[in-house]
């Protein structure tokens, strides 16, 4: 039968078309990359540059490029993982609840550190963006970069930025903060888990909070607290600050 020779490659082809269209491939790749990256991170003494998010994302981008799967198609499958960010954010209440007795006792120093850190982060972002010659739209888009992505996009829209660009800046900031956190804080001789977690969550929101949970549950609790409060305060303060900035320096 002459067809026999051509049937097999055709079937493989059809199988690939079928598989790459189902969520299975994207999900499997995402989980496998993460587990391998996690293993690598732990085996290499948690070397900062081998951050699991950074490594997984880099490997996945390479793989998708190699097998020619467009991002939209990848996200069709990966969205099941992405969806869990919602319940995980709600779950941050639990470590916070466990830490509540300590928070109650030291609410003042923690509150002051949060306020000072927020002001420095927001003002330095606006100032450096302007000094480094970013155009007006980019300046407005980058202003909320230390805020968790969904809130950052809302702020960006309100102050005249491009929300999708802001999401990119927020994630880049999160990854950078997660990578730089432990080296920087060790250099500054900050060894208390509360101070470590709070500062990581404040500037590097969710991705930083994930990194803080690797340090320990207490660090994670403080990071989650800083992330949530920074989101709430930034949502109210940034539009005012951006307007003042435009009026004062423009």
């Amino acid at each position: 039968m002459p067809e026999d020779t051509t049937v097999e490659p055709l079937e493989l082809d059809a199988l690939w078309v079928y598989l790459s269209g189902s969520p299975l491939v994207a999900l499997t790749l995402t989980l496998a990359c993460y587990l391998l990256a996690r293993e690598l991170f732990d085996r290499c003494g948690r070397f900062a540059l081998l951050n699991p998010v950074l490594v997984s994302v880099t490997v996945l981008v390479g793989l998708l490029h190699l097998v020619d799967i467009p991002y939209a198609q990848y996200f069709d499958g990966a969205q099941f993982v992405h969806f869990l960010l919602g319940p995980a954010t709600v779950a941050l209440a639990l470590p916070l609840y466990r830490e509540l007795p300590v928070l109650r006792r030291h609410w003042l120093p923690i509150g002051v550190a949060l306020c000072v850190g927020l002001v420095v982060t927001l003002v330095s972002t606006l100032l450096i963006a302007r000094l480094s010659g970013l155009d007006d739209v980019l300046q407005r888009s980058i202003a909320a970069k230390s805020v968790t992505a969904p809130v950052a996009m809302g702020i960006s829209e309100r102050i005249g930025g491009v929300p999708s660009l802001t999401a990119v800046f927020a994630i880049l900031t999160g990854v950078f903060g997660a990578v730089a956190a432990v080296p920087l804080l060790s250099l500054l001789k900050v060894h208390d888990d509360a101070a470590r977690g709070l500062s990581i969550g404040l500037v590097a929101h969710g991705i930083g909070t994930a990194r803080a949970f690797d340090i320990g549950e207490r660090a994670g609790a403080y990071a989650g607290l800083a992330m949530a409060l920074s989101a709430m305060v930034s949502a109210v303060a940034l539009p005012l600050l951006a307007a003042a900035f435009a009026a004062g320096l423009g």
């Binding site: 609840y97 420095v120 968790t148 999401a167 730089a180 920087l184 900050v190 590097a204 991705i207 340090i215």
Partner: protein, 126 residues
Amino acid sequence: MSILRGFTILLVLQLLGEVLSRWLALPVPGPVVGLALLLCVLVVRPALARHVDGASDALLAHLSLLFIPAGVGVLVHIDRLDGALAGVALTLGVSTLLGMAVTALTLQRLMRGRTTRDTPPSGTEG
């Protein structure tokens, strides 16, 4: 079974948060409102904690995983920044390091003499 129950509680609170956020036009998204709601619920009913801690710990143990799909999206769009890459890197990098350093040092200075530890430190990282 208990993980499933915990997960359902988390989803219910996220849903409530989502509804409140839209309804009251709050500037923060549903999950963050859900976080605040769950914290209030736990304060009022501490017994609820043991129903949610299994699901919460499972989700938070692999929080990094959940950022990967969005992270892949970023590298796909990175070429939109072509000309401004240096300025963007400078802004992100410097303000992130500065904000982190100032927050950590401020808290450390204010806490001198006090302690935030009820238990020994959990971290072993240098």
